[in-house]
Amino acid sequence: MKDFLQIIFTTQFGYSVLRVTTPILFAALAALVSDRAGVINIALEGIMLITALTGVLFSTWFHSAWLGLLMAVIMGTLTGMLLGYFHLKLKTNVILAAVALNLLASGGTIFVLYLIAGDKGISSSLASLTLPKITIPLLDKIPVLGPILSGHNVLTYFALLSVFLMHYFIYKTPMGMRIRAVGENPEAADSVGIGVKKTQFIALAMSGMIASFGGAYMSMGYVSWFSRDMTAGRGFIALAAEAMGGATPIGSFLASLLFGFFDALSNSLQLLRVPAEFVQMIPYVATVVGLVLYTAAKRNQYQRMLIKIGRQLEPEK
């Protein structure tokens, strides 16, 4: 137990929670924007994989991490649009289209990697670049908080910022309101001239774009290469985080952080010689538990209210 606390109460641990959270947070926000428009995007896994590779390839070719990021974002947006095309134009069930896209991404990235680098596992033979880390002046001087919050990859800060941007976007801007309207009552949106499909298409494109930051972070921040199936389920976890967060930006952020905490914990806990496989289950179990607690709380609220409504009557009569 002492060892356990020693691990958790270190600044390095806090630092790694944020780092691990970053890709999940991007993906959760990506899930959120499409979910709000009424389309569930389970292709985040594939989109992140594709954009992770895109970032690596273009940063190698252009000798610039920023251009790599730019291309990844373009690619992610295009992939989101592709999903939109499948779902909205060709009318494929969106879950099936996403499963197809994920399969395509998993094999397709390796196919492309092999064509370009001659490797089937990892891109380390390419001299790809990483995005810079940022030391925040002043903040990094503060004890405890400094080492936890400062010195992260630039995308980690962007992820945190994105939570607020997303909140603003969804609740304060016309497009955000349209997205919510389309998700809640598409016919109503349609009848006031908001193109439902158009809005959903935009939401999916945005979703792809946001997820692409997560993908780029994986290969140009988290690590410095692309490797086979490197997203390892983070796109799925993000869906759970978004659901757990009640489809709100702040909620999704907190849920992602929770997952990040358990994931970081699972990486450290092994040092205490807890069975590795057991430890690796923890984040997933935590996510399911969190999801159930959240939905159960919602359901309980309803039950309690039913009982209350029943009771209210008695003094009246």
Partner: protein, 519 residues
């Protein structure tokens, strides 16, 4: 009269992907500043024509001329820009947004990047005042009554600068009093220079409000007349193609023992608010108890409680003496209950299944149709064949998918299934909504027949005509409570009923208590 037409639709033909020809070479025109009625049977193609005008559907042929120039309303967006507004048959509002937010949806005023909500609220207030349509801009739409929602819908259209206003069956869910209010508002609009297309099944309303009327049947136009020149009988003959008598012939009821007994029932609605507030009543064998009321006054939740579809928050429901509070739907059905649901597409059928499979829905575990393991296809075939004939369901065979049938025929499938189990208690929720005259007649007669065969019938209907016509006795629901009980429904007038439905009149608890025959 091509010269005086403000808007002309020419040779509009619309075929839905399922092969239904909803509009067939339709020519339709309106003049500036008139209120123009569009009437026709269910499925005649009225809504379709208007949806084409409003850009929600695309026609395969034909064109639209506004003030002589062709316009292409490819989306509502363009239609709105062309000064056309539409209030739909079903509300088109986003429940979680406020009135003001609904008003501006799609045409949001902006301040920088964000929505300028203050302006939206101010504009809504101003507009409401100008047209005398009182609404609270800050109220969330999900908590509004139907009447107010209707106003919001009209304001929405006006906010978008509509000069031509399409109203698709706006009075279907309103009380006579609310209807009257709406009419005065519409007349005000007309005075201020707007043009209105008004769709209704109620011909006296057409006579009262409209300048001209266009009649549709089977996707074609049957003619356009000055309302002053035609009688309702003329119109209905043109609509249906024959004379219709919608009078149901029935003898006085001979009620026997109590079948359904509801005591102090409390139900919640989807939002967790109390929707039924301690209601008690009883229905006896051999009678039809009508439940009248404006939609949204707790009838839906009442039906859900009585049929076991939702949990009862408080109180008790018994059928033939057995409490159903803790019973599963199957057990309730096994007590001899059947249920014609209000929304047939959601609760009444599985569209993708065949008629045969749909008919099986409440009897799949009966020995007659399934053995120990396998189903008995022959028996199922025979039953559905019989029902199709008996109920005159128009279809190619019982193997046709239900989704391919017209609304009236879908309703007949539901009714045939539900009535085929010799029910003790029939819960009929809006049994003839949105279906044509022929089918309506058929279903109403069948209900009376079953009553005469000693079934107990609880009839919920927002159609005043229907409740008055069919019910033996009658209760009125307002805001989740029973506000009136009439032992003999034939003694009540439509106007009087309206007063109770609006909550303007209220009987004493003693009078209402008459509906409980025995404790």
């Amino acid at each position: 009269m091509p010269d005086d037409a403000m808007l002309r639709m020419e040779k509009i033909t619309k075929v839905y992907p399922n092969g239904i020809v909803a509009n067939n070479e339709v020519d339709f025109s309106i003049r500036k500043g008139e209120i123009h009625a569009l009437v026709g049977e269910n499925g005649a193609g009225k809504s379709t024509l208007m949806r084409i005008l409003f850009g929600l559907e695309e026609s395969q042929k034909g064109r639209i001329l506004l003030n002589g120039t062709e316009i292409k309303n490819e989306s509502p967006h363009i239609a709105i820009a062309n000064g056309i507004g539409m209030v739909h048959q079903h509300f088109m509002l986003v429940p979680s947004l406020t009135v003001a937010e609904n008003m501006i949806l799609g045409v949001e005023p902006k301040k920088g990047l964000r929505i300028d909500l203050q302006k939206a609220i101010k504009d809504t207030r101003a507009l409401a005042e100008k047209y005398n349509l009182a609404v609270d801009p800050l109220a969330k739409v999900q908590f509004l009554s139907v009447g107010i929602k209707q106003k919001v819908e009209i304001l929405k259209a006006l906010y978008r600068g509509a000069e031509i206003l399409i109203l698709d069956e706006p009075t279907a869910v309103l009380t006579p009093q609310e209807t009257k209010e709406l009419f005065s508002e519409l007349k005000l609009l007309k005075k201020q220079g707007n043009t209105i297309i008004f769709i209704s099944h109620k011909l006296h309303e057409v006579k009262e409000l409209c300048d001209r009327v266009t009649i549709m049947r089977n996707g074609r136009i049957k003619g356009t007349f000055n309302t002053a020149d035609v009688t309702p009988t003329d119109i209905s003959r043109l609509m249906v193609g024959r004379d219709v008598i919608l009078e149901v012939e029935k003898d006085a009821a001979k009620p026997k023992e109590i079948v359904l007994s509801v005591t102090n029932l409390v139900m919640a609605n989807d939002l967790g608010q109390r929707a039924v507030k301690g209601v008690s009543f009883q229905v006896r064998k051999g009678e039809i108890l009508g439940i009248a009321g404006v939609e949204g006054n707790g009838q839906r939740e009442l039906v859900k409680g009585v049929t076991g579809l939702e949990r009862i928050a408080h109180g008790e429901v018994t059928i033939l003496g057995e409490s159903i509070n803790r019973k599963a739907i199957k057990e309730i059905r096994n007590l001899g209950t059947c249920h014609i649901p209000e929304d047939r597409m959601t609760y009444g059928v599985a569209k993708e299944m065949t008629i045969e499979q749909n008919v099986l829905a409440d009897k799949y575990d009966s020995q007659d149709y399934t053995g120990r393991i396998l189903t008995k296809p022959r028996a199922i075939r025979d039953l559905s064949q019989k029902l199709v004939e008996e109920y005159q369901i128009k279809c190619s065979s019982p193997l046709q998918e239900v989704g391919m049938l017209s609304g009236g025929n879908i309703q007949k499938v539901v009714v045939a299934r539900e009535f085929s189990t010799n029910p003790q208690l029939i819960i009929a929720d809006q049994p003839t909504r949105g279906i044509d005259v022929g089918s309506t007649e058929f279903i109403r007669n069948r209900l009376v027949e079953l009553r005469d065969e000693d079934s107990a019938v609880m009839l919920v209907s927002a159609d005043l005509n229907e409740v008055l016509e069919l019910s033996d006795s009658l209760i009125v629901m307002y805001e989740g409570e029973i506000t009136a009980f009439f032992e003999d429904a034939s003694k009540v007038s439509e106007e009087e009923l309206g007063l109770y439905m609006l909550g303007i009149k209220h009987q004493t608890p003693e009078e209402i208590g008459g509906i409980v025959y025995e404790k």
